[in-house]
Symmetry: C2
Subunit: 302 residues, 2 copies
DNA sequence: GCGGGCCATCGGAATTCCTGATGGCGCCTC
DNA sequence: GAGGCGCCATCAGGAATTCCGATGGCCCGC
C-alpha cells in the first residue's frame, strides 16, 4: 500500500465514479481501477460495491476512508513541515488560471514571487473555474483563480475583485440590439460556456428571472474561443465588461446596453494547504499586488 | 513521496548507516541511497549529513522524523483496522524461527490457525534470534520466536517456556570430561554461535564468572550445523538439554554433567502490531497450545 | 432489442525501481 | 606518506511495476 493508492481511494469515494476520479487524478480509468483492486486485495476488504451507476462505498470502505484521509493528512503535514524547514523556500506552485494573464496581473505576481523567493517556481496552468476546482481538489493545482461563489468548506478563497460582466454582440448586430429586452435577447443565438463557469450562472439567472430560455447555438469553454465566436457573428455571449468595451472601441464587438451582476474573482486553495509555506508565499505576494490582506484568516464571506 | 520512502527514512535514521538499513529493509544499499536522495529532493530539505562514519540526521531531519513516524503509524493503523473489518481474517503471518519445528510445536500451531482462520497463511522463516529481531523491526517478520532476555520497549514478548541448556561434547570425549571444572572446559575447543544468540550469552557468562575464555575453534549460526560439528568431534557446544539427552541415548553425543542457567523461549512482535488481528490470531492459538494467556497484556516481566 | 454508461481485463509500452559493479572521499593504521 | 578499509554516490542494465488504449461484459433505460 502506498500513498497513491490512498489518494485514489479517497478520490473514488468522493466521486463515486471511476472515470470522474481518473480525471481528477489526471490518470486513466484502468489505472484507477487497478489501484482500487490492489488496495482491496492488500487490505483484504471490499472497499466499494460495483454498481451500474458507479462505485458505492461499502460499510468497511466508509470506516477506512477516515483512516485513509488521516494518513494522507499526516503525509501532507510532513511535506508542509519540510517546507517550513527549508533554508530557502524551494518548490513549485501550480496556479490555475481562468482568464487572461494581464487581468490576473500574472507578470507582476511572477516578479514579486521571484524576488521574494528565488527558488520558488510558478506554473500558470490554463483552465477555467469548472476544471480548476476539481484539479485543486485532486492536488494537481496548489492554488487557482476562480470566479463566482464558493461555499465548499474544504476550500479557502479570497475575493480579489468584482468582475463586471456585459453582454457582447457581433458588431453587425448593433442596430437590432440598441435597447433590447430580455425575451428579445433570449431569442437570439448564444454562445454558451460550460455550466460550471460563473458566466453561465449569471446568464441563466438573467433569463430565469424573465421565464425564458436562450437559444444555445454553440458551446465554448475558453474565453478566447467565445470572444472569437461572438466577433465572428455566431451569437451573443457574456464576457468581462472591460474586454467588451475595449473591443467595442476597436469596432470588433457591440456592448449590449444591459446591466449584469458582477462575479467575484477569487484566489482559492485547499483549506488544509493554507498553512503550506509555498501557498503562503503566493498568497502573500498576491495580497500585496491586489492591496489585500490574504493569509491565515477566516474564509472570506461568500 | 510514498510510504516506502518514509520507511527507508526512518530506518536509516535509526541505523545511521545505509548498508545496515538496507539489510533491515531487505533491499540493496544503492536502493536505500536513492530513496533518501529522492525524498530529500522532493522535500527540499537535507535530512542527513553524510560522514565517513555514516549518516547523521540534520536538525531538519530530526524534526521530520517524528512526522514520518506518524505517517507510517497512520498507515499501519489503517491496515490493522482493515483486518478488523474483514469478514474472515485474511492475510499472511510471517513467523521467524530460532530452533527446530518440533520443539516450537509448529505443526500444531499451523493446524490450530488453519482451523480457526482458514484464510490466514503462516510462513515459517528459518532464522535465529540475532537475525529475527532486526527483521521484526524492519517489518519483514510479523512475529518471531526468540530466546533470551528482551528489554526493547518497541517489542512485546511472551515467555512460552524456559529452555534448559546443556554442554554437549563429542561422544569420544566422554572419558576426559567426567566431572570437568570450568577452566578445564575452557581449555577445550568450542563451537561458537554468533554473539546475538542467547546460547552465546550463557556460554560467555559461564566463563566470565570463572575468569577464563574458551577457545573458539569454529562458528556456526545454525543449530543443526552446530550439532553436526560437535558430533563430528570439532569441539564443545551449548545446546538444548533435551536434544543432547536424546543424542546421548543414541550414542552420538556426550552430555557434560554441568548445570547451566536456562533461557526463556519467547514469542515476540512489535508493540504497535499487538492489536493487529493477524498477530492476535497467532498469539491466541499459540497461547492455547502452550497453556498460556497471550494477548493484549502488559509485557511479560523480563 | 438496442444503445449507452460503467467497471474489469488484456496486451503492449513506458516508467520506475533494484542490483551488481565501481568510483570518490575520508579516516585509520602501518 | 602510502595503502587499505569503510561508507556513500553513481552508472548501466535488468526486473518489476504502472499506465494506457482498446475492448468486453453487465446492467439499465428507452
Amino acid at each position: 500500500m502506498e500513498l497513491y493508492h490512498l489518494r485514489t481511494f479517497v478520490t473514488v469515494a468522493e466521486e463515486g465514479h471511476l472515470t470522474r476520479a481518473s480525471e481528477r487524478l489526471f490518470t486513466s480509468q484502468p489505472a484507477v481501477s487497478a489501484h482500487i483492486k490492489a488496495l482491496e486485495e492488500e487490505l483484504g476488504v471490499a472497499l466499494f460495491d460495483r454498481t451500474p451507476r458507479g462505485m458505492q462505498l461499502t460499510p468497511a470502505g466508509t470506516q477506512l476512508l477516515a483512516s485513509a484521509r488521516q494518513t494522507l493528512a499526516a503525509a501532507s503535514a510532513l511535506q508542509q513541515q519540510a517546507r517550513g524547514l527549508q533554508d530557502q523556500l524551494i518548490g513549485t506552485v501550480r496556479i490555475g488560471l481562468n482568464t487572461d494573464a494581464r487581468f490576473l496581473r500574472l507578470i507582476a505576481l511572477q516578479s514579486a514571487v521571484a524576488e521574494a523567493h528565488p527558488q520558488v517556481a510558478l506554473e500558470f496552468l490554463a483552465g477555467n473555474t469548472g476544471a480548476n476546482l476539481p484539479a485543486l481538489r485532486a492536488g494537481k493545482l496548489d492554488a487557482t483563480f476562480i470566479s463566482g461563489e464558493m461555499d465548499d468548506p474544504a476550500i479557502r478563497s479570497w475575493i480579489l475583485c468584482e468582475e463586471e460582466l456585459a453582454v457582447a454582440a457581433p458588431a453587425a448586430w448593433r442596430a437590432r440590439l440598441e435597447t433590447p429586452d430580455v425575451p428579445t435577447l433570449a431569442d437570439q443565438p448564444w454562445v454558451f460556456t460550460t455550466e460550471d463557469c460563473s458566466h453561465y450562472g449569471v446568464m441563466r439567472a438573467l433569463f430565469q428571472s424573465h421565464c425564458c430560455t436562450p437559444r444555445k447555438t454553440v458551446l465554448a469553454n475558453q474565453e478566447d474561443a467565445l470572444a472569437a465566436m461572438v466577433e465572428g457573428g455566431i451569437g451573443l455571449g457574456i464576457m468581462r465588461r472591460d474586454v467588451v468595451e475595449a473591443a467595442q472601441r476597436e469596432g470588433r464587438l457591440h456592448l449590449v446596453p444591459m446591466q449584469l451582476p458582477s462575479v467575484s474573482l477569487r484566489m482559492a486553495c485547499l483549506a488544509q494547504r493554507v498553512a503550506d509555506p509555498l501557498v503562503q508565499a503566493v498568497l502573500s505576494e498576491l495580497g500585496a499586488l491586489w492591496g489585500l490582506d490574504l493569509a491565515l484568516r477566516q474564509r472570506a464571506s461568500a
